[in-house]
Symmetry: C2
Subunit: 164 residues, 2 copies
């Protein structure tokens, strides 16, 4: 299990990657970078960054707790665009729980602690996430993102709080 606390504010992930690179294959390193690029784009609220890291194809899918399933790149792009227009701030502490890289497909299983703010509202949640990447022309592109509110037997009833 790779454990990477991903804190954009402190930009610590470069040193984490250096430590991990001692035990990771080149493909795993590239996938880890692609996975982190996704969280950077999300935290930066930058649609062009998000556009650059997804494969623009009809069969990509995106599942998030408060969206209908988004099917195809046009719908996925629109989903991120609406999210970025509606929230002002999002910070995610992401932990990689497993990373598997085959020749042209890789998937990352993560947990996320999310704090976000939109007009007058703050939201916190813990989520479990499956990210799938596909290698095309030497680059790993996101093709599937499935995120869901985390169940925890230890914190059941507390895992989602809404402060207004």
């Amino acid at each position: 299990m790779y454990v990477i606390e991903y804190l954009t504010l402190e930009r610590q992930h470069a040193s984490d990657i250096m430590l991990l690179s001692l035990i990771m294959t080149s493909a795993e390193e590239q996938v880890l970078e692609a996975n982190q690029d996704f969280y950077t784009a999300l935290q930066d609220l930058k649609l062009e960054e998000m556009e650059a890291l997804w494969l623009h194809d009809d069969w990509v899918r995106c599942v998030r707790p408060e969206w209908d399933m988004l099917e195809g790149w046009d719908a996925v792009r629109e989903g991120w665009q609406k999210l970025f227009e509606s929230i002002r701030y999002i910070r995610i502490t992401m932990t990689v729980r497993s990373l598997q890289a085959e020749e042209t497909v890789a998937w990352v299983c993560c947990t996320e602690k999310i704090h976000s703010a939109s007009a007058g509202k703050f939201d916190s949640s813990h989520q479990d996430t499956t990210n799938i990447f596909k290698k095309e022309n030497g680059n790993w592109y996101m093709v599937h993102h499935h995120s869901s509110l985390r169940y925890s037997s230890q914190t059941q009833g507390e895992h989602r709080e809404l402060v207004q």
Copy 2:
């Protein structure tokens, strides 16, 4: 998009597969079968069927709405065992929303309508699911299952009902 209504009670899926096979590759057909084997095992409440279709490795993961994330085959097996001991009946109408098969990895994005019964309690839910399969020794094994309660903007507030 492949649309397959999977109804174990009526055993209709063989004819659905015949229709789909006209437009599917051999790998896609095999993955579709492996995916259906998973739902058959789940509906049959048969642990040995579930054991046969998962890869027994430390890095497999299983995320379901009312479990902690299960990490590694031993934990995943125990999760299914407990589920099968606690419920008496489960029926799932599964719709495949996308299926992608590369050389050794495939993933299926599905929606599920679930009706289940345990001691004196009936439960219904709609879920979105990501299933990942890995090909080893010519067979496709499940290596990742991520299922979450479905958000729907059309049925928000109605997507989960509990009848006691």
